[in-house]
């Protein structure tokens, strides 16, 4: 086995934070994805334009640039704006907030496409039938559309999660002590970079494998109402 010279716990704590950051970002991404999908499918032209611009722009910019932009750029931007208004506001973003917000915002764009596809995959006839039974639009969404959307969205959301959890490694650039950053610290202290980055990579693999297993379980759960041949 690899000798981690007592830094094993640091890596595990980092992995814990990585999963936490991943889950928090994913929650934001799912939330934004639902809103984004609504925007893309909604009637108001403005909603379509906003949602369209969101997905087009976000998917064309590297995550690292956006993280740097949010972490370093947003506080200075707010300071500049408030200074122009004659006030002084000091904004200090912590790496966790900045990282989670940025990663969530980026993957919200990918989740938007997933939910849009999932919504369109729900047979129109069922929605019509629900409306004919007298359900309101909101009730139809909650009882008929949403439960089935999960089934169609899960494979796509699983992919988003896999990419997202790896993207969280970038938050190490703004010094959040997650797995990557802690591996960095340990490798500098011990001068054994290969050992620690390799150990970190194995932990990422472990997270990936665990996610794959959970995803399969979730897909079985979400399609429990579907008859199989």
């Amino acid at each position: 086995m690899i000798d981690l010279q007592g830094y094993g716990w640091l890596l595990l704590k980092g992995a814990q934070l990585t999963v936490l950051v991943g889950l928090a970002s994913m929650a934001i991404a799912v939330f934004l994805g639902l809103i984004g999908a609504w925007g893309k499918l909604a009637k108001p032209r403005a909603a379509q334009v906003v949602a369209g611009t969101y997905t087009t722009v976000i998917r064309g910019i590297p995550e690292l640039v956006l993280i740097l932009l949010v972490y370093y750029g947003v506080p200075t931007l707010i300071q500049d704006i408030t200074a122009a208004a004659g006030r002084e506001v000091i904004v200090d973003l912590n790496p966790f907030t900045a990282g989670v917000a940025t990663i969530g915002f980026i993957y919200g764009a990918f989740a938007t496409e997933v939910f849009r596809g999932a919504y369109l995959a729900v047979p129109k006839g069922q929605i019509e039938a629900a409306r004919a039974m007298g359900m309101s639009a909101a009730l139809t969404f909650r009882r008929v559309t949403l439960p089935q959307m999960w089934r169609f969205a899960l494979p796509g959301l699983g992919n988003v999660w896999m990419v997202l959890i790896k993207a969280t490694a970038l938050i190490s650039v703004i010094q959040l002590p997650e797995l990557m950053r802690n591996a960095d610290i340990a490798s500098r202290a011990t001068r054994m970079p290969f050992t620690f980055y390799f150990a970190a990579s194995l932990l990422y693999l472990l997270i990936t494998i665990a996610s794959m297993i959970l995803q399969q379980k979730a897909e079985v759960w979400a399609s429990r109402g579907v008859r199989r041949a």
């Binding site: 370093y72 750029g73 693999l205």
Partner: protein, 239 residues
């Protein structure tokens, strides 16, 4: 917004753009050359052939690119003596080499997986027909399976190239002066953070949608036989 700083740093950002294009281009080309044999090995029925390739693909797709870059750039330092003995240290000392190497291996793994799906997606009837015509082995792959697989894989491959272009921004972390690297250095010196990162983001947007445009053109070219014949297309012109 400090427009003068943006204007003044544009020439250096454009130099960075050239570095980004170089690194991405090199990795895409070498990565594709690696991906084709890897994909062929991956669909092999021989365990000794497909299992190592599966392991390689699984590792590179399951870990963050940043770890891979650090593993190669910083990690190689742990084996400095051994690498120096075989004369490889001169390469691994260079951030540029390490950046291209890690991006190449990364994209080779993703592309091999895309190609594997495409190769397995080639309709069996076509393979059967080719066999009936007497083709087998290398000829079958060269004439029927690979051309068809490339066409099937193209949209997914477009995405992969776009991802790689964006992922190349990570090389700025190992001191290379690509778009992101230049923006970070100038921003740290002038405190014009959002101005520079927004400009960098705009350059990436142009590059990304440029790549997508070019790849769509190629897709149009290679799928000509799937479209209606020109005279039929004329009938529906103006739609």
């Amino acid at each position: 917004m400090a427009f003068d700083i943006i204007l003044k740093s544009l020439p250096r950002l454009l130099e960075g753009t050239w570095v980004t294009i170089q690194i991405t281009g090199l990795s895409v080309v070498i990565g594709l050359c690696l991906a084709v044999p890897l994909a062929l090995m991956r669909v092999s029925r021989n365990r000794a052939v497909w299992m190592p390739v599966y392991g390689f693909i699984f590792y590179f797709r399951g870990t963050p690119l940043l770890v891979q870059i650090f593993l190669i750039y910083y990690g190689s330092g742990q084996f400095q003596d051994a690498l120096a003995q075989v004369g490889l240290w001169t390469f691994f000392r260079e951030a540029y080499f390490c950046a291209v190497l890690s991006l190449t291996l990364n994209t080779a793994a993703y592309t091999a997986e895309i190609l594997r799906g495409a190769i397995q997606g080639v309709p069996w009837g076509e393979v059967e027909a080719a066999r009936a015509c007497g083709m087998s082995g290398a000829l079958l792959y060269r004439r029927i399976i690979l051309p068809k697989a490339f066409r099937l894989a193209w949209p997914a491959y477009t995405n992969e190239v776009v991802f790689l272009l964006q992922a190349s921004s990570l090389v700025s972390i190992i001191t290379l002066m690509d778009i992101t690297g230049v923006a970070r250095v100038i921003a740290a010196r002038t405190f014009a953070f959002y101005e520079l990162f927004l400009t960098a983001a705009a350059i990436y947007l142009v590059l990304v949608y440029g790549v997508i445009w070019v790849f769509r053109k190629i897709e149009y070219r290679i799928s000509g036989h799937l479209r209606a014949a020109p005279e039929a297309a004329d009938a529906t012109a103006g739609m």
